[in-house]
């Protein structure tokens, strides 16, 4: 039972961290709860579809369908998170200054939330489909300890969700002054970390070279299969044995998003009309 709980916990943890961060990072945007719920529902439904289509997906692209599928959904999440951070670098201060003002800009808020809905859906989809497959395996195994294993799965699920809630509540405790910088930094690391994971799947599919593998090895200290490693992977993009190509992806995405944020902020500050508007408000 404990083994099952741990497996499910590890799978759920990563998705829960992402949902927790996204929920915190979108504080103050109207209608956010509905979008988050929608993302979760879409992700769960998708998990079941992907789990049962696993064999078919796996056969695509000469047997590399699973790798390409994983890399693609990670890629989608990276693009969406990049969009979020660039959007936030423009609207974050508005949100902090005056939640009501944001309420008027419903269109922009809705677009942002649709983007985050996709992030939540793909995060849940990726980790969820593996969990569904695992539990399906347990269910059809006819093992005597089946009941205990399913109970274990439920415990793992609850614990994983609990960590996500803790991260969310913890982030909300950050003082408003630093709140957007803190959530932006987390989303930035999340996006870069996901890009590195996507690289890993492309390497596994033999589509890109690994370029020196591994660059370092800290698996003796914190292994990626441990709970601590999973936490650090989810929050910081930690990899105990990164390939050179993964680091290239990490650094490129990290830098690209930072540049995008700086560019958006500069564009915001340039038009004189915008400056006059802030002066009078």
């Amino acid at each position: 039972m404990f083994g099952t709980a741990l497996i499910v916990f590890r799978e759920v943890l990563e998705a829960a961290l992402i949902v927790g961060i996204v929920a915190a990072a979108t504080t103050g945007i109207p209608g956010r709860a509905r979008y988050i719920a929608g993302g979760l529902a879409a992700g769960l439904l998708g998990s079941i579809l992907v789990a049962f289509g696993a064999e078919r997906i796996g056969q695509l692209a000469e047997g590399m369908g699973q790798e390409l599928f994983n890399a693609s959904i990670l890629g989608i999440a990276v693009v969406m998170l990049a969009w979020h951070n660039i959007w936030m670098s423009v609207h974050g201060r508005e949100l902090a200054a005056n939640a009501k003002k944001m309420g008027k800009d419903v269109m922009s808020g809705a677009r942002e939330m649709s983007v985050m809905l996709v992030v939540i859906a793909v995060a849940v989809l990726r980790e969820g489909s593996e969990t569904v497959l695992f539990l399906y395996g347990v269910a059809i195994s006819g093992d005597a300890s089946q009941g205990a294993m399913i109970a274990g799965g439920a415990i793992g699920l609850v614990c994983g969700v609990a960590v996500g809630v803790l991260v969310f509540k913890g982030l909300l405790k950050i003082p408003l002054k630093h709140f957007f910088s803190a959530t932006s930094a987390l989303v930035l690391l999340l996006a870069a970390g996901m890009a590195a994971q996507a690289a890993r799947f492309l390497i596994q599919a033999n589509m890109i070279p690994s370029l020196a593998n591994p660059v370092w090895d800290t698996s003796e200290i914190v292994s990626n299969s441990s709970v601590m490693g999973k936490l650090m992977q989810g929050l910081l993009g930690y990899d105990a044995q990164p390939a050179g190509m993964q680091m290239v992806f990490f650094v490129t995405v990290f830098a690209a998003i930072l540049i995008g944020m700086a560019w958006a902020r500069r564009r915001l500050e340039q038009p004189p009309g915008a400056r006059a508007a802030t002066a009078t408000s």
Binding site: A54, E62, E130, Q204
Partner: protein
């Protein structure tokens, strides 16, 4: 630096183009056969894994950077390496107690 990266890329591409050595591994009753696979170090190789169980399995190795779900009664191809000489553990994540193995790169 650029040239180094390019030559690295080309050499890996060439290695990838050459026929990769294949190794067959079977999963049955949540165990790997063979559970010890010797492969040449510094070369990309191919594992042809057949899951004969009815339940799905996830072939996972953090040291070899592999994470692949293999549905029940199906086959999967996994590219491994190039690895430095040494031992690399792998597990079937869905049945970690019994599904264990090691790759030895020489």
């Amino acid at each position: 630096m650029k040239r180094l990266a390019l030559s690295l890329f080309l050499s890996t591409a060439l290695v990838a183009f050459a026929q990769d050595k294949e190794f067959a591994i079977t999963i049955k009753d949540h165990k790997f056969t063979p559970d010890r696979v010797e492969i040449p170090a510094g070369q990309k190789v191919k594992f042809m894994v057949e899951n004969q169980d009815a339940t799905p399995e996830e072939f996972e190795s953090s040291s070899m950077k592999i994470e692949k779900v293999i549905p029940g009664k199906s086959k999967a191809t996994i590219f491994v390496g190039p690895l430095k000489a040494g031992e690399y553990k792998f597990v079937g994540e869905f049945n970690e107690k019994t599904a264990k193995g090691v790759v030895v790169a020489k």
